[in-house]
């Protein structure tokens, strides 16, 4: 018998099955194993907080077999860790375009060898940038799926079984978040190359300050706040680039910056080593300086 309820049900089960083929068991702690997402035939992205030992990591495949894995890199700031399998053994997950609030989703996990596990919900919020206990996230998703034990590191998938992001409860009690797939893959790329995430460094101390209406007019945008530079390290990238105490920093690399979280988020990723335009308001007038972004010591 076919009706719309059966069709919907079949679609959700098919989504779980499809994404489940790339959802793996990650055994790297003493208590319950958790989950991970295959992003290449030999690469598994998971949550950093579930990696409690760096040796003898085992990844459980959907067919029940296990493959040893090595830690390729980890970033507590985004709670992501990348594992490299001893041999290519998995199918990379398909990713989805940007998530929308209200969208129907499944959180998947594989905390036991007995099969894939699922929880249904909707995307309840899209937020960010946000400071995490040890770093920051440019964007994050919240859902009303149930974070069952061992679901950290597993995917949030859409009704077509495409990964929207990676679920984690690693940012503290009550802070179950989904890291959007594009963001997670960027971090994974850095981890594969460098083993850790380099964070950009300007060498300034700053505080949020109002951008005057005259300066706003000169900027040609409605930006209410910027970061007033109140101190600068000697020989810092900022000093080398010509920034001065008293400047109000209003954008970095063309992206407006109005608080610390935004600056922090703009300095993550591949900014290190690049010479980027930094816009400041000095004496009421906007001015663009070139600053070579350093690596945070």
């Amino acid at each position: 018998m076919s009706n719309v309820l059966v069709d919907l049900s079949n679609a959700m089960a098919a989504a779980a099955e499809k994404a489940g083929a790339s959802t793996l068991l990650v055994n790297a702690r003493r208590r319950m194993p958790a989950s991970g997402i295959a992003i290449a035939p030999d690469l598994v992205l998971t949550a950093d907080h579930i990696i409690e030992r760096e040796d003898e990591i085992l990844v459980g495949l959907p067919d029940g077999t296990e493959v040893p894995a090595k830690l390729a890199g980890r970033d507590p700031g985004t709670d992501l860790a990348l594992l490299r399998l001893e041999r290519p053994a998995v199918k990379a997950a398909e990713t989805a375009p940007e998530a929308k609030v209200g969208q129907l989703v499944l959180a998947l996990g594989r905390p036991s060898p007995s099969g894939i596990e699922a929880s249904l919900g909707v995307v309840s919020a899209v937020g960010g940038p946000v400071r995490t206990p040890r770093g920051s996230l440019d964007r994050y998703l919240r859902t009303d799926t149930t974070p069952y034990p061992g679901f950290s590191g597993g995917p949030l998938v859409d009704a077509e079984g495409r990964a929207i992001g990676l679920n984690t409860s690693g940012f503290g009690p009550g802070a179950v978040l989904t890291i959007p797939a594009d963001l997670a893959l960027k971090v994974a790329d850095q981890l594969a190359k460098h083993g850790s995430i380099q964070r950009g460094y300007l060498g300034i101390r700053s505080q949020p300050a109002e951008v005057s209406s005259a300066a706003r007019k000169a900027l040609k945008r409605e930006q209410a706040e910027g970061l007033l530079i109140v101190g600068m390290e000697d020989d810092s990238p900022a000093a080398a680039g010509g920034l001065m105490v008293g400047d109000i920093l209003v954008s970095l690399d063309g992206q407006p910056v109005s608080d610390h979280d935004e600056l922090f988020a703009r300095l993550v990723g591949d900014a290190v080593g690049k010479t980027l335009p930094v816009e400041v308001v000095r004496g009421g007038q906007p001015q663009v300086l070139k600053v070579k972004i350093g690596a945070r010591p």
Binding site: M1, N3, V4, L5, V6, L8, S9, N10, M12, A13, A14, A15, A16, E17, G20, L106, L108, S112, S114, G115, I116, E117, A118, S119, L120, T145, T146, Y148
Partner: protein, 204 residues
């Protein structure tokens, strides 16, 4: 294209209308009310913990008919019990033979907190296992909130077939159901061991 909501709502109304005559209210002495599923020929399936030793069981059907019920078979370890009433409404649930799939839509039907005939939707979360004194048994975990009064009620798939009986007593995990494979073998066993239930063969 038709709007999805204009398809979903009538489909849910239809599902509820088809399911309602299959569900009973089961009371036993001073225990709170639980649920039961009509299995044909005056048989009502419920949880062992809903009826206990089987004294003073009453079964009320959706059309308001009330019956005194006798306990004809039970399995305390798996938490299943089979009741017999002298009559019924001619309806019998279909017990699914399909393998349940994680992610598929499921519905719990019962009387949570005493509210009658409440349908709760979610997905099948996992096929899992539970320990009983006589060994491991398969269980279903569903991603939906059950409450007292859901016990003995069915967990259904989108086609309205029974895939499990909500039990919520194993391991403190709330939404746990006994899968239809165990229910089918329990019914089969009852048919073999209880004289007078041989006619169940046709139902199965």
């Amino acid at each position: 294209m038709m709007k999805l909501s204009s398809l979903l709502e009538p489909a849910l109304d239809d599902l509820l209308a088809r399911l309602k005559p299959l569900l009973a209210v089961v009371r036993a002495g001073r225990r709170g009310a639980g649920a039961g599923v009509l299995a044909g020929d005056g048989l009502v399936l419920t949880n062992h913990h809903v009826v206990g030793k089987g004294r003073g069981i009453e079964v009320e059907l959706a059309d308001g008919q009330m019956f005194k019920a006798g306990l004809v078979a039970d399995d305390p370890q798996v938490d299943l019990a089979l009741l017999q009433i002298s009559g019924g409404n001619g309806h019998a649930a279909v017990f699914s033979t399909a393998e349940p799939r994680p992610g598929e839509m499921v519905y719990a039907f019962g009387h949570p907190w005493g509210q009658r005939y409440v349908l709760t939707a979610g997905v099948l979360s996992a096929r899992t296992f539970g320990r009983t004194p006589s060994g491991e048994i398969p269980l279903l975990r569903a991603d939906l909130q059950l409450a007292p009064g859901n016990s003995g009620g069915p967990l259904l798939n989108a086609a309205g077939e029974v895939i499990g009986l909500n039990a919520m007593i194993f391991g403190g995990d709330q939404s746990v159901a006994i899968p239809s494979t165990l229910i089918r073998s329990f019914l089969e066993q009852a048919r073999r061991s209880v004289p007078g239930l041989r006619h169940l063969e046709e139902v199965l």
